[in-house]
Amino acid sequence: MSAPALETRDLTIRFGGHVAVNAVSTAFRTGELTAIVGPNGAGKTTYFNLISGQLPATSGAILLDGEDITGLGPAARAQKGIGRAFQITSLFPNLTVHENVRLAVQARSRRAAHLWSLWSDHREWIARADRALEEVNLVHQRGTLAAALPHGDKRKLEVAIMMALEPRVFMFDEPTAGMSVDEVPVILDLIARLKARGDKTILLVEHKMDVVRSLADRIVVLLNGVLSADGDPATVTASAIVREAYLGQSPAASAGGGHG
């Protein structure tokens, strides 16, 4: 595998006396899918927020292709290729499904902020948004307001928005949380296809251990904000620290943990 696409060095955030993410140093390579696991409150989502810029790091550094992006805001990081699908669905509720995705397509273009060019004139962008919707089986809902979608479809749209952004680093935060059993494979297939392309860096926070085992090249375990284990799935799931701290709670966690 190649040089790290994304790296965090001693990444730390403190909320008052509480250290939510504590000196996490690790690297993610292109073509690799890393699952980040840990019990609720372990700092997984906070770690994601630090990487994509929703939260400022107290100390430490984030490097994208060797470039220090710690000082950049979320918009600049997105432009540099960090894509994020949120655990708590974050859509544009009063815009249509298609408009939601289309905004992501448009965000990639230099002409994103064009004052004069009509929204409806960009056929290619419209087609690309539709392709992203096809990938998650949402084309039939393209004209629906995002707010009116059922929960499972909202989760799919959340993923479609990130797909349309075509980032280099994909950050899935419990993409299947709250989805019905028959909807889950759509998302998992999509992640598998993405991984098969081999040119993207994929980070996945997931509670369901079967999903993690089937998709991940590598598992990183966070416990109380500290990176506690890091390795290939077989080794990590077999390690004592994980069994005690995380898998010991797995019945509750995999049954439906992470509804937000």
């Binding site: 805001g73 905004l103 902020a113 928005i161």
Partner: protein, 357 residues
């Protein structure tokens, strides 16, 4: 053709479209259909406020920014044209100069306020705009040597627009084509052009980003849109349109003063028009401005008629006395909010885009 003019955003329902065509036709034919100076004045005021309300809706309805400084930009437009004509004498180049100067001042001021305060929370921005607008109004009334103070300035408009001008010897369709009629059509056509421009802006790629920011600022940022930049741009564009509305107002009234352009009463009227018409849809501005100004101007007459008709019935005539028109307007406002929480245009379009303020 029509689709292109409307920036591919035609009215969402037939009823709304019919209402808009009716308003457009009424305004276009106003000098011939509704005789009298008062009627023409009402029609011109509607045209001016359609532009002002539409420009405010770009901020409030599309971007989700609450600003109380909108009449300041209206005033800058009014004073820009008014004072230019007052000091430099009537002439079209002077009008153009006044507009350009006002646009520059307006946009620079919007940019300054935006850069200083659009990073902070919405409520602080609203407070800052309130402070800036108050300061501007006080400054304008204090600089009475220059601005005419509380009295404002009366000035002469270019010859073509004066009441004494006659374009033709004979009346046309029973109406003498005076400079006033020409001035009205200047205001009307400017309003149509500026409204279509605003419609184009909100339906551009840029405009959709504004809506995205209104809907979910954090998500827009996570897609790579710099929210502060877009908010500031929206604020500047909206200010420029308000300046144009102010310029139209000055040319029509041949007068500029704090009461007609800067007062908070106008700011409140604009807010009411936006809410009644419906935020987040520019067609709402047309409906809101038209209904509100018609009510303002004709409710009293209507009530006098109603009071006369109900004479003999206890209490009712007293309630319907013309002096109670503000009470009735208030009741109508409450009712319209109750039945049309997304505004009249929002209700008719059936697409519940609520205010995001």
């Amino acid at each position: 053709m029509i689709r292109a003019l409307l920036s591919d955003d035609p009215p969402k329902s037939r009823l709304l479209a019919a209402l808009l065509v009716l308003i457009l036709a009424g305004l276009a034919a106003a000098p011939f259909v509704f005789p009298g100076a008062a009627a023409l004045n009402t029609a011109a005021k509607i045209c001016i406020f359609i532009v002002l309300v539409a420009s405010y809706d770009i901020l409030l309805g599309y971007t989700g920014i609450v600003s109380f400084a909108h009449t300041m930009f209206f005033g800058i437009g009014g004073y820009g044209v008014g004072l230019s004509l007052y000091f430099l004498g009537p002439g079209w180049p002077v009008v153009a100069l006044g507009i350009v100067v006002a646009l520059v001042i307006g946009v620079v001021l919007a940019l300054a306020v935006g850069l200083v305060s659009l990073r902070v929370k919405a409520i602080f921005f609203a407070m800052i705009t309130l402070a800036v607008a108050s300061a501007f109004m006080i400054l304008t009334t204090q600089l009475s040597e220059f601005t005419g103070g509380e009295d404002g300035r009366t000035f002469r408009v270019p010859e073509l627009l004066r009441p004494t001008t006659r374009l033709f010897e004979e009346p046309f369709l029973g109406t003498a084509i005076t400079g006033r009629v020409l001035a009205y059509y200047l205001v009307f056509l400017s309003a149509v052009a500026l409204f279509l421009l605003a419609l184009r802006l909100v339906n551009s790629c840029f405009g959709r980003v504004l809506q995205a920011i209104r809907e979910n600022e954090m998500r827009a940022e996570a897609l790579g849109y710099r929210v502060v930049y877009f908010r500031t741009m929206a604020s500047c564009l909206s200010a420029a349109l308000a300046v144009m509305a102010g310029a139209m107002s000055a040319l029509w009234l041949r007068y500029t003063g704090p009461e007609t352009t800067l007062s908070f009463a106008i700011m409140l009227d604009v807010l009411l028009m936006v809410v009644i018409g419906g935020t987040g849809t520019l067609y709402g501005a047309v409906i809101g401005a038209t209904l509100f100004i018609l009510a303002q101007n004709y409710l009293q007459k209507l009530m006098a008629m109603a009071a006369a008709a109900t004479e003999g019935i206890p209490l009712l005539p007293r309630l319907l006395h013309p002096d109670r028109w503000l009470l009735l307007l208030g009741v109508l406002f409450v009712l319209s909010i109750y039945f049309f929480p997304t505004g009249i245009a929002g209700k008719l379009a059936g697409r519940g885009r609520g205010p995001a303020a």
